[in-house]
Amino acid sequence: MIQQREGLGDLIRIDHLTFQRNQQCIFDDISLTIPKGQITAIMGPSGTGKTTLLQLIGGRLKPNAGHLYYENQCIDGMSNKQLLRLREKMGMLFQNSALFTNLTVYDNVAFPMREHTQLPESFIKDLVLMKLEAVGLRGARNLMPSQLSGGMSRRVALARAMALDPELIMYDEPFTGQDPISMGVLVKLIKHLNDALGMTSIIVSHDVPETASIADYIYILAQGKIVGQGTPQQLADCQDPHVLQFMHGLPDGVVPFHYPAPDYRQDLLASCKEREAS
């Protein structure tokens, strides 16, 4: 079911997407849309394929069936060159930051600007300092990535992702490893970027309250399907067992906590038997 919502139309449209990875079905015929100018959150248990979905949108993976559209251009049908050009309009915060380890913090943030613009160096400097100021790391500009803490690297990566003020920005777990103070700042920053600059944002996150506070629309994925969707308010009131379990973090419910495995007791018994045998 694709819901039409008011606004500027859709930036990304995913149409009956099916994706498999070594026989394991990660997405099974899902359809969803990312409306322009809004913050869409994608949530779901670990290992359901949220990162994979972002990679598919970026065109780094090809779907087995179905299509992805960026403003009616088919992403999965593009040539390498077209993809590179498309990605100039996207920013992505990687789950593990993926900073360039041979460049300083400053050069990391300046990298996309130097590659894609002809701006003079003095201009780039101002821009980089602005971006670093926004994430509170202007003072760390001369450090190397190896000298940063985990939370600091994520904020540098965030500054780099928004360096070119892209149309679409995808945040893969922007809040991991942040203390409560910087968490609050980042939540505001993401909201601000989206509203003031008119970006479209996709947030993948496990932090339910923070994400719900800024997202316009939330999709909950589990076991290859969309198990719940709606505005944060709708989801909070939703009585669907998947949604209920996820939004309130309950360990027992329809979404299993475990990766598919044989019965726990049998696994343990099997190792007992092996020990006796030897």
Binding site: G58, R60, N80, L84, R85, L86, R87, E88, M90, G91, M92, F94, N96, A98, L99, F100, T101, F111, P112, E115, H116
Partner: protein, 260 residues
């Protein structure tokens, strides 16, 4: 018996596949519009880290190789009372064979393995992926400058190697064993042909530079993204490029001796 044949077949198909991938990879890296303004600083930086940092090992190795060839050669030549020919012997053996081959082997160990490990680590930590997601082609930004830097560096290093090795031979022959300086140099000058010897040595080193760097960057780019994958890729770089250098050296020597 059947399984052995099957295994052989499978591994040869795999080998062909890998060579094909490596070839495609090379074509994708090389066949593109040159961007001199952005590319030049990248190339210079890589020339520095690949070429200049390989210089110490090349210098030390070459002086010792020159001295050893000088000593051995003197011993043999003295049996024929032809020690004046030492200059010729040192120069020819170094320029034709030892220079290109030993420099390429050292280069594979010093620069090739470093290239593979660096690119492999960039892949493992998703730096290449994040570059792609920024709309920058890592083949252009990361691979091409390193490839060209390797192809340019090795011939230059080989020339330095040869020059220093000849000086090493001179130190042993003239300073230590007392051959006449004039005889040493004039015999060398008379017998070393620019076209046959020097140029052929340089051609060899260009070919070796191409092969070693190709293997190194491809192994790095195709690394399995784990710590063990990087270590395997680095080992493969050194092993494959050493074998390829020795094999190609035979082929090139045969061609050069044959008709040229």
């Amino acid at each position: 018996m059947m399984t052995a044949i099957q295994k052989l077949g499978r591994s040869s198909i795999q080998l062909c596949g890998n060579v094909g991938y490596a070839g495609l990879f090379l074509i994708k890296t090389l066949v593109r519009k040159p961007r001199p303004i952005k590319g030049a600083p990248l190339l210079i930086q890589e020339l520095y880290s690949i070429g200049v940092f390989s210089l110490p090992i090349i210098l030390v190795a070459s002086i010792f190789i020159g001295m050893v060839v000088g000593l051995q050669g003197y011993n043999i030549l003295s049996k024929f009372s032809a020690t004046e020919q030492l200059g010729q012997l040192v120069a020819l053996s170094v320029v034709r064979e030892l220079g290109p081959v030993v420099a390429a082997l050292l280069f594979a160990g010093r620069a090739g393995s470093a290239l593979t490990a660096e690119i492999g680590l960039m892949k493992t930590t998703e730096q290449l992926a994040s570059m792609e997601m920024m709309g920058v082609d890592p083949l252009w930004r990361v691979i091409a400058p390193r490839f060209w830097a390797g192809v340019i560096s090795l011939p230059l290093l080989t020339m330095i190697f040869c020059a220093v090795a000849v000086i090493g031979g001179h130190v042993i022959g003239v300073e230590w064993l007392g051959i006449d300086t004039g005889a040493f140099w004039s015999n060398m000058q008379a017998s070393v042909d620019f076209h046959l010897d020097v140029l052929n040595g340089i051609i060899k080193s260009v070919v070796f530079g191409f092969i070693v760097t190709w293997i190194a960057v491809y192994q790095g780019y195709a690394t399995e993204p784990t710590a063990a994958g990087i270590s395997r890729a680095t080992t493969r770089t050194v092993v494959y490029s050493s074998l390829a250098v020795l094999g190609m050296d035979f082929v090139l020597t045969a061609i050069m001796m044959g008709g040229w």
